[in-house]
């Protein structure tokens, strides 16, 4: 009972403070939770443990058995972590993984010169990130690269270990040359994946009252943010790593860590976006298709082609993968955007419409990855149980783990995948309709919504056929 009353109170006071943003619940206003958010210790300890786990994973990847299904690194990274990222961290917490991610830790320590003090007197060159390289283009490229080498990366412990090492080295290098988390914002492919989908997640860090910020000339929150965000100006959560440095730095307690409805950063009120983000959204749709085909489809030749890096079949696979991502999907979506422009009578340029309408692809993309994950990882959960029962490969059988039965997962799998995909489609269709409604003046929003909606339906049908057909 007390919990409910507390919830109610926090809800109402939050609403009263920010009438312009209803339907938020400020977690940082909960007296029992506040100390854990304010202190740097909880995240620091979690990240340190994660860093230890990362080092162990890299060693296991390099020294362990070559065959993926017996390698600790493969099972931990590609079955346990990747599943948690797509089914828990992103849909429930947006960039929450980034708040505990160990990859940029060494670089950040060097850059800040301390472990727990936050961003005070940065070391390194502290250059600004070049204008030309801003946006999501690099991350789209990183994502495409991963797709080209996915079959090897996901099945060879050594390759996984080298990829992790390369990510750490890149983040160390970039944090010494550039300011703040340049690596995380512009390069990290995991960030490229989590960032856009964080707009859908039910968590956000925002200022409570803009007038308080307006009167505060030091902007200590901006000085403190490792991600270079200014909370007052943040239009969405794509680049917020939920590290809570702004909350610690704000002298007026004007920062809220809020629960919010799903999809809050999407919709007509959130235009415009750039072509780079639209392109990234399409690349993630294309990659989900390719991963589903390679890893869960019945096409053996495709698996071999994707696996034999450097061979002729692999070149064919690469050509197909790139054509799908660079020509087919962008082409189809451009056609949808063009039709939308005709049907809505919007005077905006095609590129602008392309970027705006691409917002509708985020829910579908996220849910497609979730459905793929169910298909990809659920049948392999027994490997995680085996690994936990015998983490060092010494022939242990920790009680209760090795004997777990996951057979039921196979039976619910297909229905669950279909349900997840259809849910994503429904959300995307609603969004497409909303966007159309906002862009027509005196024409029918139904017709204007049709092209992008059809694009989503056709894509969903394609994935359904691959996963459950």
């Amino acid at each position: 009972m007390k919990g409910v009353a507390e919830f109610d109170l926090a809800m109402r006071s939050a609403d009263a403070r920010r009438g312009w943003r209803a339907r938020r619940f400020d977690l940082a206003a909960l007296p029992w939770l506040r100390p854990f958010i304010e202190s740097r210790w909880p995240l620091f300890v979690t990240r340190s443990l994660a860093l230890a786990g990362l080092v162990f994973t890299i060693l296991a990847g390099l020294l362990g058995p070559r065959v993926g299904s017996h390698n600790f690194a493969i099972i931990l990274v590609w079955i346990a972590w990747w599943t948690a990222l797509k089914l828990v961290f992103i849909p429930l917490g947006g960039r929450s993984w980034c708040s505990v991610c160990p990859l940029p830790m060494p670089g950040e320590w060097l850059q800040q010169g301390n472990l727990l003090g936050g961003l005070q007197k940065p070391h390194g060159l502290g250059l600004r990130w070049p204008k030309k390289l801003r946006g999501a283009w690099l991350q789209s490229g990183a994502f495409l690269l991963i797709g080209l080498f996915s079959a090897v990366t996901l099945t060879d412990g050594r390759v996984t270990a080298w990829v992790l090492l390369a990510l750490i080295l890149a983040s160390v290098g970039l944090s010494l040359v550039f300011e703040r988390r340049a690596f995380c914002r512009y390069v990290c492919p995991i960030g490229g994946f989590t960032g856009p989908y964080a707009r859908f997640a039910p968590v956000e860090v925002r200022v409570k009252s803009s007038s308080v910020c307006a009167a505060h000339s030091e902007k200590t929150c901006y000085q403190a943010c490792p991600w270079g965000q200014y909370p007052l100006a943040m239009r969405d959560s794509a680049q917020c790593g939920l590290c809570m440095e702004c909350l610690r730095a704000c002298p007026s307690d004007n920062i809220a860590l809020s629960l919010r409805p799903f999809g809050s950063d999407l919709g007509a009120a959130h235009q415009p976006r750039g072509l780079d983000e639209a392109f990234l959204a399409l690349v993630m749709l294309g990659s989900a298709l390719a991963f589903s085909a390679v890893f869960t489809g019945p096409w053996g030749w495709l698996k071999s082609a994707a696996y034999q890096v450097g061979s002729l079949p692999w070149l064919g696979y690469s050509a197909g993968f790139l054509a799908l991502n660079l020509l087919l999907l962008p082409g189809l979506f451009a056609a949808a955007a063009w039709l939308h422009r005709r049907l809505s009578g919007s005077p905006a340029q095609l590129g602008k419409i392309f970027a705006q309408q691409a917002q509708a692809l985020y829910p579908l993309g996220l849910f497609t990855w979730m459905a793929f994950t169910v298909s990809f990882a659920f049948p392999k959960f027994y490997l995680v149980a085996e690994m936990l029962a015998d983490p060092l490969g010494l022939g242990w059988e920790l009680p209760g783990l090795a004997a777990l039965d996951f057979g039921w997962l196979q039976q619910v799998g297909p229905g669950l995948q279909a349900a997840i995909l259809l849910a994503g489609l429904a959300i995307s269709l609603r969004l497409a309709r909303q966007l159309a409604q906002a862009s027509v003046t005196n024409r029918s929003p139904v017709l204007a919504a049709l092209p992008v909606s059809l694009f989503c339906v056709v894509y969903t049908g394609w994935v359904l056929w691959m996963l459950v057909g």
Binding site: P298, P414, Q437
Partner: protein, 150 residues
Amino acid sequence: MTKTSLHAVLPWLVLALLAALVLLLPLPVAAAAPRARRFRIEASQFAYSPAVLRVNPGDQVTIELAPQDVVHGLSIDSYPVDLQADPGQVASLTFTADRPGVFKLRCSVTCGNMHPFMTGKLQVGPPTLLWRSLGLALVALAAALLPRFK
């Protein structure tokens, strides 16, 4: 109930009904008399050939697994099937396809790096889940395009 609110609710009721029909309606498929079927499946890294088996519910299915290069296995989701054989040998097994649906064949012996993804599929009867899902996708499309009453 006033006229406008009925107008607003009616299309949604129709769509809900449609969705329920798509989900629950038995599909008009002519039941074929069960018969015996035999598949010889050649397995090599990392493919089955044939990789897709289509049978009717009730069929007596015999599978012969014939690995071509290294030792392979074959298990089928939700069916008590697990075969393993060395290259050059053939392992076989007969079962009744009594569960309709689409099920994955999976290699059950580590045969190389892509082994966890060596799959095929057994299709017992029509792919109803796919059809119903596609139907629901169209219902969702209709729902999204429905005129909005304010």
